[in-house]
């Protein structure tokens, strides 16, 4: 079996193993082992990838592996990675690793919980390694569906409602994607030639512009729903608010990135002409969601809602950057996905840990926690600083790359919306400091909070993992951004050629 | 032949009338048996069609006539089962009014 398929195999095997687990103890140990293995494999992959590149292997896709699946429809199981997918894979394994430890103490149906969680992650990994649109879509839906159970069973608050809403909206999105994919498939080759789902072959053949004009919006919107594109973002606040910790982490941290990744890999890459024509509509939408999400977050009272709205804002920035369609901005988009993935996961992890202690998420019911929970408090501050783009943490790198890239456009429209988007950094500062000020600083509001205990070892582990990743990206961004840049070059050339 | 000089249209008119009378009966009569009878009307109108077409348009072959024979046979079988069930209905509902038989709806 080839190396990449292991990324799908390991989670599946872990799930199989969990089936035989007796109790929570064994379950979480198995999951921990499995996900650590995954993390190890990822580190190896990153290393191997960089080594290949260093050795001068300039192929667009490395570690390619191809099996024909449905001959008559020319559907293949094709996997391969470039710098971008390697980055995303790394993100995913870090987050899932942290997620397992963040949900260390799941008492209700633990086996089922870990099974669905890890199954979900396998879908995500599969999505990132696939080069064949059919398989990609298959993994996409595998990643989306367990959400329903995870939120519905282990969630809090109006969980059934939120779970159903989230599932239906995302599935509505994937419905659009399905139509789009079929459209792409049946336009994937000149008449008389073998139709294909293969990303690169389609790109090589090129899709007739007429078809593009019809299918680009479908695909972009479809993926946009998962990327929390305004006005299809409303699943996100409720969904995140009701979801259990690890699920929020994985969902906001990784799953929402599937949207951005797909929009970029499928919609933009395969249909650059239409993208060029229609970008402005979506640019307006995205820049709205950037500012709108930020302002929306300012007045929220529930920690998770605040974070959900800030996610809307940050993911809006991702799509915004993607639509800018130049090397730097796209690079920024990927970086932003990574950065937001890490820090929002950290946020949700911390929120979950705080909620687990205070049993409330309403910021006005808490206060002065820094005194009783120094570790969590400091971690929360770090997350906040990352999210408001403090240099030395990942957020800054991503946002600056996006802004500089977006500002490279020569026409006034693009530059204007860029300025619009930059204003979000101030609003972000406002709501982050508001939370930090109320939640952590000041006097303790509730005397019950006086004797709370600080983070346990697994909580520390999960938090530290994420913080390390954030800092690593923030302090040494060059290797990452160069890795992405290398793989972006051909894509950007193709997009530019479409101009 | 005894059908000398009777044009095909006449047969068709009769069959069509029978067909629609049958439909009408099926839609309006409340008694299940009567509904069954109206089905028979429909089937027989079809028979007339087949025979008439056969002997007027395609006299050299006999598909139509055989078809009608089969239809008659099948109709008999259908009627048998139907009546059996109707008896069953009577056992359960103490009536064979069709509009009584609406325990399951929506």
């Amino acid at each position: 079996m080839d190396i990449l398929s292991w990324f799908v195999a390991i989670p599946v095997l872990t799930v199989m193993a969990i089936l035989f687990a007796k109790d929570l103890k064994q379950t979480r140990i198995i999951s921990a082992i499995g996900m650590s293995a995954q993390l190890g494999l990822t580190t190896w992959l990153v290393y191997a990838y960089l080594a290949e590149r260093a050795a001068g292997n300039a192929a667009a896709w490395l570690f390619k592996y191809d099996v024909t699946w449905f001959t008559s429809l020319n559907i293949h199981y094709t996997v391969g990675v470039d710098g971008i997918s390697v980055a995303m894979i790394a993100l995913t394994s870090v987050v899932i690793f942290a997620g397992v430890f963040a949900s260390w103490r799941t008492d209700y149906l633990p086996r089922e919980f870990f099974i669905s969680l890890i199954l979900l992650s396998s879908g995500v990994f599969g999505f990132f390694i696939s080069l064949d649109l059919f398989t990609m879509f298959l993994f996409y839906e595998i990643a989306v569906i367990p959400m329903y159970l995870l939120i519905g069973i282990w969630g809090t608050g109006p969980k059934e409602y939120s779970a159903m809403k989230l599932t239906l909206m995302l599935m509505g999105g994937s419905a659009l994607i399905m139509v789009g994919l079929l459209g792409v498939y049946f336009n994937s080759a000149p008449a008389g030639q073998q139709l294909t789902f293969n990303l690169n072959e389609i790109a090589a053949n090129g899709i007739p512009v007429v078809a593009q004009q019809f299918f680009f919006p479908m695909l972009f919107l479809g993926f946009g729903v998962l990327g929390a594109l305004f006005p299809f973002h409303t699943w996100s606040p409720d969904g995140h608010a009701s979801a259990p910790t690890a699920v929020s982490m994985l969902h906001a941290g990784v799953l929402m990135k599937l949207g951005g990744y797909g929009a970029f890999r499928v919609a933009i890459y395969l249909m650059p002409e239409a993208a060029q024509d229609q970008a402005w509509i979506f640019i307006i939408l995205t820049s709205v969601s950037v500012v709108y999400g930020a302002f929306g977050a300012v007045v929220q009272k529930d920690l998770k809602y605040i974070n959900a709205y800030s996610s809307v804002s940050h993911c809006g920035l991702v799509l915004f950057a993607i639509l800018m369609m130049n090397q730097t901005a796209l690079n920024g988009a990927i970086l932003q996905m990574i950065s937001h993935g890490l820090m929002t996961a950290l946020f949700f992890a911390l929120i979950g840990m705080i909620y687990g202690r205070t049993h409330t998420r309403m910021i006005n019911e808490m206060g002065g926690l820094m005194k009783v929970l120094p570790f969590l408090g400091v971690a929360y501050v770090i997350a906040g600083l990352a999210s408001l783009g403090l240099p030395g943490l990942s957020g800054f790198v991503a946002e600056m790359t996006i802004f500089v890239g977006a500002y490279q456009h020569t026409d006034l429209f693009h530059r204007f919306v860029t300025i619009m988007a930059t204003t979000s950094i101030v609003v972000t500062a406002v709501y982050i400091l508001r939370v930090v000020g109320v939640l952590l600083f000041g006097p303790i509001r509730d005397e019950h909070h006086l004797h709370l205990t600080d983070a346990t070892w697994w909580e520390r582990l999960s938090t530290v993992t994420l913080i390390t990743a954030i800092a690593a990206v923030g302090i040494f961004p060059l290797w990452l951004s160069d890795m992405i840049n290398f793989s972006l070059r051909p894509i950007v050339e193709r997009i530019v050629a479409a101009l | 032949m005894m059908t000398e000089g009777i044009p095909l249209e006449y047969f068709l008119i009769v069959s069509t009338l029978m067909f629609f009378i049958g439909i009408f009966g099926f839609l309006t009569r409340k008694n299940l048996i009567t509904m069954l009878m109206s089905i028979e009307l429909i089937l027989n109108s079809v028979n007339i069609n087949f025979v008439a077409f056969n002997s007027y348009l395609y006299p050299h072959q006999m598909q139509g006539q055989f078809y009608s024979l089969i239809i008659i046979a099948v109709a008999a079988a259908e009627a048998a089962v139907a009546i059996a069930i109707i008896i069953n209905i009577y056992r359960n509902f103490r009536s064979i009014e069709t509009d009584k038989v609406d325990e399951m709806k929506y």
Partner: protein, 640 residues
């Protein structure tokens, strides 16, 4: 050309200290962290002195110009092939000068805090933050390119946020820190936009390229213009907004007074000597660009500076809280520096203002730090910030008294103290370029003298309050910095600045202009005299005076109601008129629309349930009629 690469360690040592104390500080006794931090800073200071001596005196000017040396530089993040953020060390007159200023003041503050913060909770944290700040500030001044500067700019902002909010259980401190961060953040947005515009037009971040006379800015025939100003001008104005934010220029000044919530050493370090002058440094850094390519932008700088200096001086007169008085005087003095940059030209004697500004920056750092540390000692003694609770302290704390007096004389501009020289240059520069600004500066000189001595008398003379426990002189660890700084502020005036720090790096002869010097001294003396009359002995004159100019008095007392205005904008406009509506809209319009879809489907399914009536004949009816409809439909379709 000598190798300055070791200068890299000047910022890195404090960083190391920060990490060390931050991660392991809680393991040891607090004082250990204090010593560690101080030690680190001592080394850094030592290195910077070495650098300064080498740069100015050993190497000296290479064929008449002080060179701009990139000691270290490495690519940190690559945007495009031409645009990339480098991290490095830039050695040139102003950066070296700033190195000296920062490390000196910081070291003094480190020492001072050993006494001042003794026994505070979070002593270790305090020193960690101090080191972090020193690191960021040093990184800022050593920046080789504008983006590196932005990076450290942000870091400085955060460390100031952390230090202001050091007493995080005190709501007012939290509020102040929040205010400071957000206001400066807002200004930084301007900075960022400026950078974007600049980098887009010039396609570089590098200071060396940006400021070199044949660089893209100076040579660019900035075609695109907006409202009559070229893109370059606009971008430089935006960048200046960033500087104005950090340097608390009007109208972005509101955070500075509140920032006094932080521990006094912090105020001394950040909000008097170092961070607040970052704005000035930024403008100075890009000075050639301002002076040659965008004189309009430079005028903006000048006028903003001038106005701020006056505005702040007026407010300072009426404040009761001694730290606030000092804060406003800081604003006023920084306004001075800005103004003097604004009135400067490029090239030897034209660049007098530039030199003066840097000179004043230097001296001001010394005496203002001294003032704050003195104030700290006083507060330490009487446990209050209000001068109404003070008086006659000269008996109790002689050293503080003397040093404080020196500082006051210095800032008032009494020769031969350092303040006199730098202020004199500024006024001279203003006089030659812009009479109006000269007028302002002249007036401010008087006001400064007045309010400083008002402060001085109120603390050390005036009515002798009876304190619940007699105030005592601060311990030696605190008085030593006072003495040191006092010496510095006395003698730093004699540094031959015009030979070291000039707009184009070329030394020139600056001579004191009696035409300016004499009047400025006179007005300073007048100010002092008034203060003496009014405050030396307890008297009713102040109240009567206040009564006679009630309106102005109230306005000044309330800082011209600027906080209220800002509060209105944020609370009312942002919260009530933007965020809440958006949040409402999101729940009740966007989300409701999504729910509406679901609702429609379910209601539809309830509406049509009658179709399944359970009536056999109705089924048949539907069946037959739909057959008929289909037939008619298609016969029609086909016959067409």
């Amino acid at each position: 050309m000598t190798n300055y690469s070791y200068t890299l360690f000047i910022p890195l040592i404090p960083l190391a200290m920060f990490l060390l104390i931050g991660l392991t500080g809680h393991k040891f006794k607090p004082i250990v962290s204090g010593y560690a931090g101080t030690l680190g800073l001592t080394v850094a200071a030592f290195l910077s002195y070495i650098t300064a001596i080498r740069y100015f005196f050993i190497e000296g000017a290479v064929d008449g110009t002080y060179p701009m040396i990139k000691a270290v530089s490495t690519v940190w993040l690559r945007f495009t092939d031409t645009l990339h953020i480098d991290l490095g060390v830039l050695i040139d007159p102003i950066s070296v000068m700033m190195l000296v200023v920062i490390t000196t003041v910081s070291l003094m503050v480190h020492l001072y805090s050993l006494g001042y913060m003794k026994g505070e909770r979070g002593f270790a944290r305090f020193y960690a933050f101090l080191s972090l700040f020193s690191f960021s500030m040093l990184g800022l001044v050593l920046a080789t390119n504008i983006f590196q500067m932005y990076i450290f700019w942000e870091l400085v902002g955060v460390s100031s946020f952390l230090l202001i909010g050091f007493y995080y259980e005190k709501p007012s401190a939290v509020a102040a820190s929040k205010k400071a961060f957000i206001v400066t953040r807002f200004a930084d947005l301007g900075f960022l936009i400026g950078i974007l515009m600049l980098s887009f037009t010039t396609d570089t971040f590098d200071f060396k390229t940006l400021t070199s006379l044949d660089g893209p800015i100076i040579t660019s025939t900035a075609g695109a213009s907006f409202m009559g100003l070229s893109v370059i001008t606009w971008s430089l104005i935006f960048i200046f907004i960033g500087g104005a934010g950090k340097s608390a220029m009007f109208p972005l000044h509101i955070w500075l007074p509140d920032a006094m919530e932080g521990p006094t050493p912090v105020s001394a370090l950040i909000h008097a000597a170092t961070m607040v002058v970052a704005g000035v440094y930024l403008v100075a850094r890009l000075f050639p660009a301002y002076a040659i390519a965008a004189p309009d932008a430079l005028h903006v700088v000048g006028y903003v500076g001038g106005f701020t200096s006056l505005f702040a001086a007026v407010i300072a007169i009426t404040q009761i809280d001694i730290k606030r008085v000092l804060a406003f005087s800081t604003m006023s003095q920084i306004g001075y520096m800005m103004m003097s940059l604004g009135v400067s030209g490029y090239g030897d004697h034209e660049g007098l203002g530039y030199m003066a500004s840097m000179f004043h920056l230097f001296t001001h750092a010394m005496f203002k730090a001294l003032l704050f540390l003195g104030a700290g000692a006083i507060i330490h003694a009487v446990h209050s910030n209000n001068m109404t609770d003070m008086g006659g302290l000269r008996k109790y704390m002689p050293i503080t008294h003397i040093t404080f007096l020196i500082a006051c004389l210095t800032i008032a501009g009494i020769p031969p103290l350092s303040g006199f020289w730098s202020k004199d240059e500024i006024l001279a520069a203003a006089l030659h370029h812009n009479p109006i600004l000269f007028g302002i500066g002249f007036g401010v000189a008087g006001l400064t003298a007045f309010y400083m001595f008002r402060l001085y008398y109120n603390i050390f003379w005036g009515t002798d309050r009876h304190y619940h426990h007699t105030p005592h002189e601060a311990p030696a660890i605190m008085t030593f910095p006072l003495l040191f700084l006092a010496v510095a502020s006395v003698f730093s005036g004699f540094l031959p600045f015009s030979h070291m720090v000039t707009s184009d790096g070329k030394p020139f002869e600056a001579h004191t202009d009696m035409l300016v010097a004499i009047p400025s001294v006179v007005i300073a003396l007048i100010g002092i005299t008034f203060a003496t009359i009014m405050y030396k002995k307890p008297s009713t004159i102040p109240d009567r005076l206040a009564g006679s100019i009630k309106g102005l008095y109230k306005a000044s007392l309330n800082k011209f109601w600027f906080d209220e205005i800002y509060l209105f904008v944020t609370k009312r406009v942002i919260f009530a008129y933007i965020s809440r509506p958006i949040a409402w809209f999101d729940r009740h319009v966007v989300d409701a629309t999504m729910n509406l879809v679901g609702w429609t489907v379910t209601t539809a399914s309830n509406k049509i349930k009658g179709l399944q009536s359970g009536q056999l004949q109705q089924y048949a009816m539907v069946f037959v009629s739909s057959v008929v409809i289909l037939v008619l439909l298609f016969v029609y379709l086909i016959s067409k």
